[in-house]
């Protein structure tokens, strides 16, 4: 740590930091943010207690959002002046000479890994333990009008055609490209002073970060199309594509509360009988896992908004590039999780 630690210039944990005098990155912002997020989740839970909407919790939801917003404002206000002049490094083993914040990001990412592992573990167990709906349908072991408890993977709908899979596939490519754009932003920030015109550096960094922001927004937009909106495929004669509609998962009835799921592929052609399925477990697993990932993307968009703005002001250079590096670690992690979510929830 710097010898200036505890100096008279020791900054307030609330206000802008005086980085030139050894600010120790102290801030109440992460603590407030954690409290805000915790409060938000609790209140949203209360809002839908036992599946019923309870409006009494609504004001507290907005209070929680205000706490989150306040924390973000404090955090960004403090970081805005960060020029990389003080980056504390560990002095003891095992992380000697490694930036403390970098280690902190990795520990945070590992806790995130545990969250997603628990979701994957749950998915694997239920996928193994509950018979698939199509297996039951083909076996004929069902009675029309009586809901069958079975596992209906979302891929049954999503992977049913190239058009259905398109939003997820495009999203996969979008995340990979965004991982690339953010390392390019870091690369330009790392270029030694004097080796590149500073205005060119500034433009390259904010454009790469801006491109990452756009790709992240595209990801969530396509997710909404896939979940709720669907899309129209026009007639493209020379490709032999006929005009048709791609329905959203919502309109297909793939919902967490659907205990009477009726898919068109579960109609017995011989008798015309329609199998009805309770798909609450499979739909819940799909929406919770992909939704948790989507929330991480949303969090990334908020962070990217700030980073892009700061880059636009020309704040990033080889010394302050660590901010992009640390955020990049988070963003690559989001990509990493998608590498597993996409094949196992969308394709298989």
């Amino acid at each position: 740590m710097s010898d200036d630690y505890g100096h008279d210039d020791h900054p307030s944990p609330w206000g802008p930091h005086d980085w030139g005098h050894g600010a120790p990155h102290n801030s109440f912002a992460p603590l407030i943010l954690s409290i805000g997020v915790g409060l938000f989740l609790l209140m949203v839970g209360g809002l839908f207690t036992f599946g019923e909407f309870d409006g009494r919790y609504l004001p507290m939801v907005f209070v929680a959002l205000a706490v989150i917003a306040a924390a973000i404002v404090v955090w960004w206000r403090q970081d805005m002046s960060f020029d990389g002049s003080y980056e504390p490094r560990a002095r003891g083993v095992p992380f000697k000479n490694i930036q403390i914040r970098k280690v902190g990001v990795w520990v945070f990412l590992m806790s995130e890994m545990m969250i997603f592992s628990s979701l994957f573990s749950t998915y694997m167990r239920y996928r193994q333990g509950i018979p698939r709906c199509d297996t039951i349908f083909e076996s004929g072991d069902w009675v029309e009008g009586v809901a069958v408890n079975c596992f209906e993977p979302a891929s049954q709908l999503i992977a049913s055609s190239w058009w259905h899979i398109a939003p997820g596939a495009i999203n996969t490519f979008a995340l990979i490209i965004s991982s690339f754009t953010i390392v390019q932003a870091l690369r330009w920030a790392h270029k030694p002073v004097g080796s590149v015109d500073e205005d060119v550096r500034r433009k390259r960094i904010y454009r790469y970060l801006g491109a990452t922001w756009c790709l992240a927004t595209l990801f969530l937009t396509l997710k909404m199309i896939e979940w709720f909106i669907g899309f129209h495929v026009p007639e493209i004669g020379f490709l032999g594509i006929h005009e048709h509609e791609i329905h959203s998962l919502y309109s297909e009835g793939y919902l967490i509360n659907n205990d009477h799921y009726q898919a068109h592929h579960y109609i017995d052609e011989a008798t015309g009988a329609h199998m009805v399925a309770n798909i609450q477990v499979s739909a819940s697993l799909f929406y919770v896992t992909t939704g948790t990932h989507g929330l991480h993307v949303f969090g990334g968009i908020i962070g990217l908004s700030y980073l892009t703005y700061k880059a636009w002001t020309g704040a990033y250079n080889p010394q302050s590039a660590v901010s992009i590096e640390y955020f990049g670690l988070y963003w690559h992690f989001v990509d990493l999780v998608w590498v597993l979510v996409f094949p196992f929830f969308y394709l298989y």
Binding site: G129, H190, S284
Partner: protein, 119 residues
């Protein structure tokens, strides 16, 4: 920051590699693998799962090693160990609890089954 793979920039090579592997993933799902699966004495779904898993592993490693700088940096070793720290717990959770508990899916008490709350 100027690492290379086969003489080319590591970031670009990683990017192209990831794009290629993803294309293979999507193609594997869209292609009729039935006859191939019969040759391996498995169902098409099993073969697809194998392909997807085999492709996901290098993709995972490529992102972690190149984009997250867990390869070729001074601190790569200790940070890789840090990243692997939860692996022990994940293995326990996924393999031992997730796959071996005989009644995890069906033996749950009614109060924690979906639908009980009218959701």
């Amino acid at each position: 920051m100027s690492k290379t793979i086969m003489g080319k920039d590591a970031y670009w090579m990683n990017f192209f590699g990831l794009m290629l592997l993803t294309l293979i993933e999507v193609a594997a799902v869209g292609t009729d693998l039935g006859p191939t699966a019969e040759g391996f004495d498995m169902t098409e779904r099993q073969l697809t799962l194998w392909i997807l898993t085999i492709i996901a592993i290098p993709k995972f490693m490529m992102i972690a090693a190149i984009f997250m700088h867990l390869w070729g940096e001074n601190d790569s070793g200790i940070l890789t160990l840090t990243a692997l720290f939860p692996a022990f717990f994940i293995i326990i959770m996924v393999l031992f609890i997730g796959l071996t508990h005989p009644e995890a899916a069906t033996g749950l008490p009614a109060w924690c089954r979906p639908g009980t709350y009218g959701l």
